[in-house]
Amino acid sequence: MEAKYDFERKYRKQILQCSRCGYCQAVCPIFGITHRPSFNARGKMLLLKEVMDGKIDLNEELIDTLFQCTTCAACKENCPSGVNVPEIIKQARKDMVNIGSCHPAFTGMNEVLQKNTNIYAEDEPEDFGRERNKKADYVYFVGCVGLYREDEATEATLDLLDRLDVDYTLVDEACCSGVLEDVGHSINTDLADKNIETILATGAHTVITGCPYCYRTFKNKDAYAPLREKGIQLVHMAQFLKDLDISVTTDLKVTYHDPCDLGRHCGIYEEPRQTIRKIAPNFVEMAHHHADSLCCGSGGGVRGAFPKNSLKMARHRLDEALDVQADVLLTECNSCVHNLANAKLRKDKIRIMNTTQFINELMEEAE
């Protein structure tokens, strides 16, 4: 029988490989807050299997589950059968978009990036009182969340770069548009070309990204190959920080949340911890960490399309930080900061920040 959809052509064997053991339930953030098997990776694979078997149709009824996945990859990491669930889901979303079944929020994201240069359709980018597009050794590429949602975090990061005398510049950024691949669409090459051009114009040898997703996109996607071919070094802030000489310390109890895009998707687990352990000897891990880390709930377009569940996932994760009585929850992703901070209740005394923000604050206090 001829395969009807690309997900089947590409991933038939993997979908059948799912042995339905259900081990993904232990780590799936959406199952964790809903206890609903159809939202779990196993439930999603079963739906696709039934589509392949011709028992059900790929249609709008499946939007609620196939589009409600943060693509955090915790299931993949814990799958005895080696099923690459996030890639399968991303492909199935593309197939659904092709037949005209897509969550309106995801259609919206694609449309926004055809008209705007940022995912939030905001008019004016913050300039943070700094010159853009100048000649410098480093480009600091903020990312949409840092520019338009977590401007305080970005301001602090820039202050830190200044304190550390880093020769950097901001640029007129466009959304890296990597997220479109997750939500059933494709990278917007116009935006990619624009980014490549503005970055190259600075003469910088290295791009430091504030956002792990931008990092992932620059590093892996074909649309950004010219950057890599020109020999531009690409690092996330966490990697850049690790090699710096930072002498401030704190007695506060600090924990670290692995962003999915940095940890499971890029394998960067130790660099941020090395930095944090240096400044905070009283470091503690949450119940789930490294490859088993729980997702904050914001990825894969879920924050936009299913905000209530997205925030519940953040709350679920935040509870783990509260359980270990951390004073400060550090992470390396503005999107995680944003969602976790949104989930924080007034009575929770924990502080939620990027590592850069925290270091900047400690340095400020020490001065």
């Binding site: 059948l16 490989q17 206890h35 609903r36 159809s38 079963l46 059900i56 499946l62």
Partner: protein, 460 residues
């Protein structure tokens, strides 16, 4: 199912806790077995009162109710073969009480095994059965299936720890069985009857578990054997040496070969490998136990013995055994994982017999499992889209059950009957026993609404 009944269910659990949407109906059609069948709807119950009302409604209208935990079972126990209502108990997931002085924990059925383990850890206690799916399976499911695990030989199975239950009967009435005491001989032991009854006698809504202090020391070794007979004899001799290891796992040659083909562990390709772990409270004590085991291995011509000098080294020794299921799950698109169990003295015969079945039906069968309690897991690999291979798989399974019963063993040591093994019940149980089981079922559930179609309770 008519809309009035759906409406009644919504009134009981609330709109948000009812579903008949396609996405959910697909999920609830399956467990971890190869079986599937659609329910009519599903509800998430939040308390015992709701469970009671759901059952009253279902009983009145003669609608099947399938209680469900994590759905990790391997024999189709929660597959709704006759449609009806899936009663999902995952949202009843509170640990109600941990009492170290009384040595017990009281939990709701939706508590995940690993969550109880995490909650007991600060007290230095644990709930020992340790099923392979411990990170996700629910305690309600453990009770319904009498779940076991790698430590069965020393620590027993779920049944050995259930002191009391709250159970909702098929007609919605609520009863308590057992007691909050370690000993209790007051009346029929309904608790033990319910444990392992696969949701056919009642819905468990609260569980009182005996808990154990957790051993803090362990010693681990792996031994290889050039032939199965030596390995089998080593297993039985260990038992007569006076030592009961906490773990004694066996892997056969097809399992070792599959691991070597798919990992870089580079295991020696021998007829059998035994992994042994002794546990206790001091290293001296566990090392002593292990030294006795190692003596037995040597007496029985082990080729090579590796002992772990540290926890890290132990983890390395465990790696092969822990990877077995995952490695085998990736080779073919389909497999069945059986759990035949024989008296320890017959393990060699069982493994030889499995080898014969593998040849006879030209199927790849890899066997590993709990040699310490005679419970082995032959994993039969096949292509479910190939009708001929599927037919051979079915014949192989039938031969396997016959073999196990002939060796004085049982169809299932820990996965349960469900629908997968229902047609083989009479192989193991005589007519009088079957009739007695059916009489018990009728006494508890005269209208046959609780998980119908399972365990051959309806034949005759």
């Amino acid at each position: 199912m008519n809309d009035d009944i759906k409406k009644a269910l919504k009134e009981i659990v609330g709109e948000d806790n009812f579903t008949d949407r396609l996405i959910d109906m697909v999920s609830y059609s399956y467990d971890a077995s190869e079986h599937s069948s659609r329910p009519d709807c599903a509800v998430w119950a939040e308390n015992v009162e709701q469970v009671s009302e759901i059952l009253k409604t279902a009983d009145k209208h003669r609608i099947p109710v399938i209680p469900r935990g994590a759905g990790t079972g391997l024999s189709g126990m929660v597959v709704p073969v006759k449609g009806g209502i899936v009663l999902d108990l995952n949202r009843m997931n509170r640990i109600l009480k941990i009492s170290i002085e009384d040595r017990l924990a009281v939990v709701q059925p939706g508590v995940v095994y690993a969550d109880l383990d995490r909650a007991l850890a600060p007290y230095g206690f644990f709930f020992p059965p340790d099923p392979g799916s411990g990170s996700v399976c629910t305690l309600g499911g453990n009770v319904a299936t009498n779940a076991g695990g790698v430590k069965g030989a020393k620590y027993g199975t779920t049944r050995d720890y259930v002191l009391g239950l709250q159970v909702v009967r098929a007609d919605g009435r609520i009863m308590r069985t057992g007691a909050s005491t370690i000993k209790c001989v007051s009346g029929y032991d309904l608790t033990r009857l319910i444990v392992g009854s696969e949701g056919t006698l009642g819905v468990v809504t609260e569980i009182t578990l005996k808990i154990n202090p957790k051993p803090t020391a362990a010693s681990t070794a792996v031994a290889t054997f050039g032939n199965l007979e030596d390995a089998g004899r080593a297993v039985t001799r260990i038992m007569s040496s006076g030592i009961i290891p906490a773990v004694m796992e066996i892997m056969d040659l097809p399992t070792i070969q599959a691991i070597n083909q798919n990992t870089d562990l580079g295991l020696p390709e021998v007829e059998a490998m035994l992994l042994v772990e002794t546990d206790g409270y001091t290293q001296v004590e566990t090392d002593y136990q292990l030294s006795k085991v190692v003596e037995v291995f040597k007496e029985n011509h082990s080729l090579d013995i590796k002992q772990a000098a540290s926890r890290d080294e132990a983890a390395v020794l465990w790696k092969a055994r822990k990877s077995a299921y995952a490695v085998l799950a990736r080779i073919q698109t389909h497999f069945v994982l059986e759990d035949v169990t024989v008296p320890m003295g017959r393990i060699t015969d069982l493994l030889r017999g499995i080898g014969d079945i593998s040849k006879k039906y030209d199927l790849r069968i890899a066997t590993f499992g709990h040699a310490g309690d005679g419970n082995l897991h032959p994993q039969i690999l096949y292509d479910g889209y190939n009708p001929d291979e599927t037919a051979r798989m079915k014949q192989a399974v039938a031969d396997l059950f016959k073999l196990s019963v002939e060796l004085n063993g049982t169809l299932t040591g820990e996965h349960g009957i469900g629908i997968a093994k229902a047609s083989f019940m009479s192989l193991e149980h005589d007519d009088v026993e079957m009739e007695t089981m059916r009489a018990v079922k009728r006494a508890f559930d005269p209208n046959n609404i609780l998980n119908p179609g399972k365990m051959a309770l309806e034949a005759n």
